[in-house]
């Protein structure tokens, strides 16, 4: 089976700025893939090149084996892109816009049923005949997603789809996208909400300054960079009298608490025993796991 998306040594320069600097990446079909990175990392440029909104300076990109430049018409049939900005055509209502969008892809009247289904599944039925200008931000976001789906693309790319969206709508959107993924669509997602990427994505690429700094399954990435931490709140004079055996552990002080980095789980017993011997009282104790955010911060150098 051909990969859903392949980037082969892709570079994109804007004059002296290297927005994308030699990225190679292959995303299998059916994947829920996360593209993460700080602002200016090159995520949107990668998506723009995939959809033909920008041309790579060098390298090749393909969607299900179709080159996005040489076979651009076939490639664009295979991908639906939800842009980051809330853009809309002020002349038309939601249903008209969706039918036009399907028409551009060569879909005629026979596709109207699917358009109505997309409208229903995104809870847009009440607004289907409302002008795009009159929609709230959340509704506009739904309409944008609907526009990317009207031609039934097997690959769906969402560029920051939940930016500025309230919690309820975010949950609804994700359950809808998860359904699409279960139905076999490949999903590529960029997001700033790392807990979302952690919860949704099977695999993740982390970008920094136009380069991939990590590319693996979400599970492997968390495992690879996992550190268990022990958070302790101690009695008042604790800091001055921490025993040397405890000081030997790597620790930081944060917000009145000590956070010890554990190498093995038995370290907890060793630390607490040493504190007990030194008659230092433990007020509160908690273990903290590494999450994708920690990995992200570590790899991208973001703060």
């Amino acid at each position: 089976m051909k990969p859903a998306i392949v980037y082969k040594n892709v570079k994109k320069n804007y004059r002296s700025v290297k927005a994308v600097n030699g990225i190679s990446l292959s995303i299998p079909q059916g994947e829920f893939f996360g593209l993460l990175g700080p602002n200016g990392a090159g995520k949107s440029t990668m998506i723009n090149m995939l959809g033909g909104l920008a041309t790579p300076s060098s390298g090749k990109i393909s969607v299900m084996g179709k080159d996005v430049q040489k076979e651009y018409q076939e490639a664009r049939h295979l991908v639906g892109i939800v842009p980051q900005e809330l853009v809309f055509d002020p002349f038309f209502n939601v249903r008209e816009m969706l039918r036009f969008q399907a028409g551009y892809f060569g879909k005629g009247r026979e596709n109207d049923k699917w358009v109505d289904e997309v409208i229903d599944r995104l809870d847009l039925r009440d607004k289907a005949n409302t002008n795009m200008r009159a929609l709230s931000g959340g509704m506009k976001r739904r309409a944008l997603i609907a526009q990317a789906l009207v031609h039934r693309p097997p690959v769906i790319v969402l560029d920051e789809p939940t930016a500025g969206v309230d919690v309820e709508l975010r949950q609804k959107l994700w359950s809808f996208i998860k359904e699409l993924n279960k139905e076999g669509h490949t999903i590529v997602l960029t997001t700033h909400y790392l807990e979302e990427a952690e919860a949704l994505c099977n695999s993740v690429a982390m970008l920094r300054l136009g380069k991939i700094v990590a590319l693996d399954t979400t599970r492997n990435l968390l495992k690879k960079f996992s550190t268990k931490n022990l958070m302790l709140r101690l009695n008042f004079m604790a800091k001055k009298s921490l025993p040397q055996s405890v000081k030997n552990f790597s620790y930081v002080e944060s917000d009145g608490a000590f956070i010890f980095q554990l190498k093995k789980i038995t370290d907890i017993a060793e630390i607490t025993e040493a504190l007990k011997k030194s008659k230092i009282e433990i007020i509160d104790m908690q273990t903290v796991d590494t999450d994708l955010e920690n990995v992200f911060l570590k790899l991208t150098g973001a703060k």
Binding site: G51, L53, H77, D89, F91, F100, Y104
Partner: protein, 258 residues
């Protein structure tokens, strides 16, 4: 996946959307230019009808109508493609078009056809209102049609170039005011170039709008300042050159895909 049928549907969809776009705001895109044209006609014919006869046996008001029709046709053909593109670029919704499999030729044909349709529609409205009270013969209908199609196409292509090239509305209004308006006012809409000094006649003959209007007028009266076949050749040449530039711009993605 990409077949002739899908390409025809794609092009037709964009054309339909472009037609609907101007029809939704018909008060601004149709009624306003028609009223402007009729006002020109009323004022100039009132002032000059009894004092001026450009062609023998043709009242000035009748002489004026073809020029006004063609001027409105050209300006509206330009406005249709240029305003659609600049609005889509400024609003950002141009992405919905650029993400589709529509080829540069499909984009070109759809924008061009919509421009021609709007130009001809506005021109036809002025004609239908004018003939209520002015007798206007049509000597060569095929010439009328050819000049209307080529003129509308030429300005539609020019509108695409302007729409792609401009990034802001003020740049676009410079095109409208300093190029289109100036060239149409100096093209012989209100006069025959034979009434000008020889030097200005030469300058007028460098203006492509002059040939569109003179050739179009020939379709009505069978009379013109220069040979209608020469005018047809000049207009066709300009149309081909502008279409070539437009297609090259769309194909390269200039100011659209970077």
């Amino acid at each position: 996946m990409v077949t002739l049928k899908t390409q025809i549907i794609g092009t037709w969809t964009l054309l339909k959307k472009e037609l609907l776009r101007f029809w939704r705001v018909a008060f601004q895109t149709v009624a306003a230019p028609v009223i402007t044209g009729i006002l020109y006609l009323l004022i100039f014919s009132h002032v000059l009808d009894s004092r001026l006869e450009v062609y023998e046996g043709v009242p000035y008001s009748a002489f004026l109508i073809p020029g006004l029709i063609m001027m409105s046709l050209l300006q509206n053909a330009f406005s249709n493609s240029s305003s659609s593109l600049i609005q889509a670029k400024v609003m950002g919704n141009i992405v919905f078009l650029l993400l589709t499999p529509l080829s540069y030729l499909q984009l070109f044909f759809a924008f061009l056809a919509a421009s021609i349709a709007r130009g001809i529609f506005v021109g036809a409205c002025i004609y239908l209102i004018a003939i209520i009270y002015i007798d206007l013969p049509i000597e060569y209908p095929w010439f009328l049609l050819l000049f209307a199609l080529l003129g509308g196409g030429l300005m539609g292509a020019f509108g695409i170039i302007a729409g792609v090239w401009c990034d802001r509305f003020d740049q676009m209004s410079a095109f409208g005011n300093f190029v289109n308006y100036a060239l149409s006012m100096l093209s012989g809409v209100f006069y025959s170039i034979h009434s000008l000094p020889v030097a200005w006649q030469g300058v007028s003959q460098l203006n492509p709008f002059f040939y569109m209007i003179d050739g179009f007028r020939f379709g009505f009266f069978g009379k013109s300042d220069v040979s209608p076949y020469f005018s047809l050749g000049v207009v066709a040449l300009f149309f081909i050159v502008l279409s070539f530039i437009t297609i090259r711009m769309l194909k390269s993605g200039f100011k659209l895909r970077n």
